[in-house]
């Protein structure tokens, strides 16, 4: 067992490819924990960012600047009474949130955080991903049906219609990205997530800039469709709070409700990851072909440390700016400790970046590379997550029929056109 543990260190393929089940399990656990933590962070960031868009402060009471608020929320939800309506179909009601959660989390098995930082590199990765993430709608439909109530039923119907119609446009843009992967010497494309990023690396283009503006249009359609796919504003018809009280999860409360929320945020991260993988070069850092000297390599590898250092500085300033009143003493200490923690991580990352700066195959260098890959990937995903919050703060909600109209009459023809033109241009280029 120790052997199989050690033998994988320094490997350049995913544990799935290496057939190393132990490491695959470790990766699964890391990803599960990481996504859960990311959802918790996202919860706090969304509430804070939304609050600042809306000239409010957001959570401020639980911990310094409300940092412990997600934990308090989670505790509250777990301790709430578990209500299943008498008229509901009990088993289906029980199983519905689990379907959504399972679909949202299964997707992560093929998401490449780096060339070897994925559980598995399936040769049909993107297909698997689209298929499994669409299963999430089943959880919503089933939840709306099992609640045996009008509003959830309408929410579920809206959700299913919406997902089905946006999946088509989404799928077509994905196909045009896959076409772009085949523009190499051998002329064969790939459906593998890692293969798609590698293709962008080889061609020296992120696919968003490929055949400009074709790649960009396809990306834009994907970016719109993915908002609809995850039921987020301005396409949050399924839970339209002012129309359907809470849509499909009206009858849910406590832990079950929080599972829906967990699934929603996990799905948001998942679709953002697809977008990053397909269009924004996945784990590849910016300008790898322009700035490829070792010194640039080193400078870019400092970014993770700098990010955490910057966050630590912000937290320190926040602690210093807290009112001098003794009432804030604990909060000030808490924030300072949090800042120190971030600073410590920054220091650790700096040490790793310096220790692993040589491009050899030592474990330190591999570790440094891995951190870089994950860092750039997560940074790109974070941009999308911020966009999700920004949309929600800015726009009103589309009406159901307008949403369908856009899906079928605007996005579908455009994405089909982009696909055809991409194919033609691809052939001509060859």
């Amino acid at each position: 067992m120790l052997n199989s543990f050690m033998s994988y260190l320094g490997s350049t393929v995913t544990p799935g490819e290496a057939g190393n089940q132990l490491w695959a399990l470790i990766y699964v656990l890391i990803i599960f924990a990481g996504v859960s933590v990311a959802v918790i962070c996202m919860n706090w960031i969304e509430r804070k960012a939304l609050a600042h868009f809306q000239i409010r402060l957001g959570p401020m009471r639980v911990g310094p600047h409300g940092l412990m608020q997600p934990i308090a929320d989670a505790l509250k939800l777990m301790l709430k009474e578990d209500i299943i309506p008498a008229e509901a179909d009990q088993f289906v009601f029980w199983v519905a949130p689990l379907i959504g959660l399972l679909a949202a989390f299964t997707v992560y098995t093929v998401i490449p955080f780096g060339p070897s930082q994925a559980v598995s590199d399936m040769n049909i990765g993107i297909l698997f991903m689209l298929g499994v993430s669409s299963l999430g709608v089943l959880g919503i439909v089933v939840a709306g049906w099992a609640s045996n109530s009008h509003y959830p039923l309408i929410g579920a119907l809206r959700s299913s219609a919406q997902m089905v119609s946006y999946e088509v446009a989404m799928g077509l843009t994905v196909v045009s990205a896959i076409l772009m992967t085949s523009l190499n010497a051998s002329g064969t494309g790939t459906l593998s997530m890692i293969g798609i990023v590698r293709a962008q690396q080889e061609q020296g283009y992120w696919f968003i800039f490929k055949f400009f503006p074709l790649g960009f249009i396809a990306f834009a359609i994907f970016a719109i469709a993915m908002v609809a796919e995850t039921n987020r504003a301005p396409f949050d018809m399924a839970e339209a709070e002012s129309e359907l009280t809470a849509g499909f999860h009206t009858e849910y409360s406590g832990l079950r409700w929080s599972l829906f929320m967990l699934a929603e945020y996990a799905a948001m991260i998942a679709v953002s990851s697809i977008a990053v993988t397909l269009w924004l070069g996945g784990w590849v850092r910016p300008f790898p072909n322009l700035l490829h000297e070792p010194v640039w390599e080193f400078i870019f590898s400092l970014f993770p440390a700098l990010t955490f250092g910057g966050l630590a500085a912000v937290a320190f300033i926040g602690a210093a700016r807290m009112p001098a009143d003794s009432f804030f003493k604990i909060q000030r200490i808490g924030l300072a400790v949090f800042a120190a923690l971030l600073g410590f991580i920054a220091l650790l990352l700096l040490v790793i970046a310096v220790a692993g700066r040589s491009a050899d195959t030592s474990v330190a260098a591999r570790f440094r590379e891995g951190i870089d890959y994950v860092y750039w990937f997560v940074l790109k995903v974070a941009v999308f997550m911020y966009l999700f919050i920004w949309y929600r703060a800015t726009w009103p909600r589309y009406r159901f029929d307008q949403l369908m109209k856009i899906g079928w009459k605007v996005m579908l023809p455009i994405s089909l056109g982009v696909l055809v033109v991409t194919a033609i241009v691809g052939v001509l280029v060859k």
Partner: protein, 384 residues
């Protein structure tokens, strides 16, 4: 509950010939506890999928018997009660009631009191429209305008608070004038508000007026023709958005309004978007009126010659004013005693709400909340 729904299915709806609970129809209950019914309005919707076949409003969840209370209170004692009807525009309610009683007694408030009344009423109109805008946008899914409007509404409420000590149910006016002289710095506060608020309206408009989603959600939604609106007795911005230039401030000037220069914004299509534009323009017009009033405010007494005990002569009176939501009328029958014999209120929200059904038929569920928002009802006034 079942009886109620059966009753609805017997209503004269477009598909009344179909058997009850045809497989295509769904009867759902929106309210009284629903995030978008602005209080405790209950709307029973008859749906075909998401399309609305008919509606039935069930009101009375906030009924407090204001009109009956009036019969057991003296004229002075009843004055604060009117604030509790349209609590978003309490000042307008007070103005309507005080002017009605004054007309009945044949007294008139002194000019200075009139000017103070106009300033506060128009500020209140802005505050009411701000509240409408925030909640209406929230119904359509735009969360952020709500917080912007509440931030700015706060400044108006601060002026009210400094003037009379109350923010919401102000009881600002008395029969015969105003009880309170303006506080030191009142004019400055009002002028400061005007300069503060002018760019804020542009800020709201930035978020909404040309927003593509906002246009799609409001254009041609909840259309009511001028003829229908007049037939239903609809007044206020809802009527004006249909193209009828009817504003009591111009049509039957009261409280000095004839002295001020302002325009009546009107719409053309009578849809939700026009009502939005009309109200936004009205806020600007209200600012114009306040500016003129605060610059021209005369010196003098603030209370007319009113006896300590108010005993109007035997008779009856109907007096109406242009409240933020439409025509607010008070019909008072006096038997010569200290209490009204009968008092009847013509609330704009109640009458305008009747238009809901013809506005939403054939639209979708999402439009119902948009239309409820655009009619701008306050349930305290609908139910009284």
């Amino acid at each position: 509950m079942t009886d109620r729904l059966n009753e609805v299915s017997r209503l004269d709806l477009e598909t009344a010939e179909k058997p009850y609970l045809d497989s295509n129809e769904l009867i759902i209950n929106m309210g009284p506890r629903h995030p978008a019914t602005h209080g405790v309005l209950r709307v029973i919707l008859k749906l075909d999928g998401e399309r609305v076949l008919g509606t039935e409003c069930v009101i009375g969840y906030l009924h407090r018997g204001v009109e009956k209370i009036a019969e057991n209170r003296t004229y002075t004692m009843f004055n604060p009660y009117v604030d509790r009807m349209d609590y978003c525009a309490a000042v307008s309610n007070g103005l309507g009631y005080c002017e009605a009683v004054e007309k009945l007694m044949n007294v008139e408030a002194p000019p200075r009191a009139q000017y103070i009344r106009v300033i506060l009423t128009e500020l209140n109109r802005i505050a009411s429209h701000q509240l409408w805008l925030g909640t209406h946008a929230l119904d359509i899914g735009a969360m952020t305008p709500l917080f912007y409007t509440f931030r700015d509404r706060e400044e108006i409420l601060k002026i009210f608070e400094r003037y009379c000590g109350a923010r919401l149910t102000t009881h600002a006016f008395r029969i015969g004038g105003c009880q309170y002289e303006t506080y030191a710095g009142f004019e400055k506060d009002v002028t400061n508000f005007l300069t503060f608020f002018a760019p804020k309206i542009d800020e709201y408009e930035t978020l909404l007026t040309t927003n593509r989603i906002w246009l799609e959600r409001t254009k041609n939604v909840g259309v009511i023709s001028a003829a229908d609106a007049i037939a239903l007795g609809v007044t206020g911005p809802v009527l004006r958005a249909s193209g009828v230039k009817w504003d009591l401030r111009k049509a039957q000037p009261y409280a000095n309004y004839s002295k001020f220069d302002f325009e009546i914004p009107v719409g053309t299509n009578g849809d939700t978007y026009d009502r939005y534009l009309v109200r936004m323009a009205e806020m600007r017009q209200s600012m114009r009126i306040v500016e003129q009033a605060v610059n021209g405010i005369p010196e003098g007494p603030i209370m007319g010659k009113v006896p300590k005990v108010i005993k109007p002569p035997v008779g009856e009176i109907y007096h109406s004013i242009e409240a933020p939501k439409g025509e607010l009328g008070f019909f008072i029958v006096s038997d010569g005693s200290t209490q009204p014999y009968r008092l009847r209120v013509r609330p704009p929200s109640f009458v305008n709400l009747q238009a809901l059904d013809i506005m939403v038929r054939g639209l979708l569920v999402a439009d119902v909340v948009a239309v409820i928002g655009t009619i701008d009802i306050v349930l305290g006034e609908v139910d009284r």
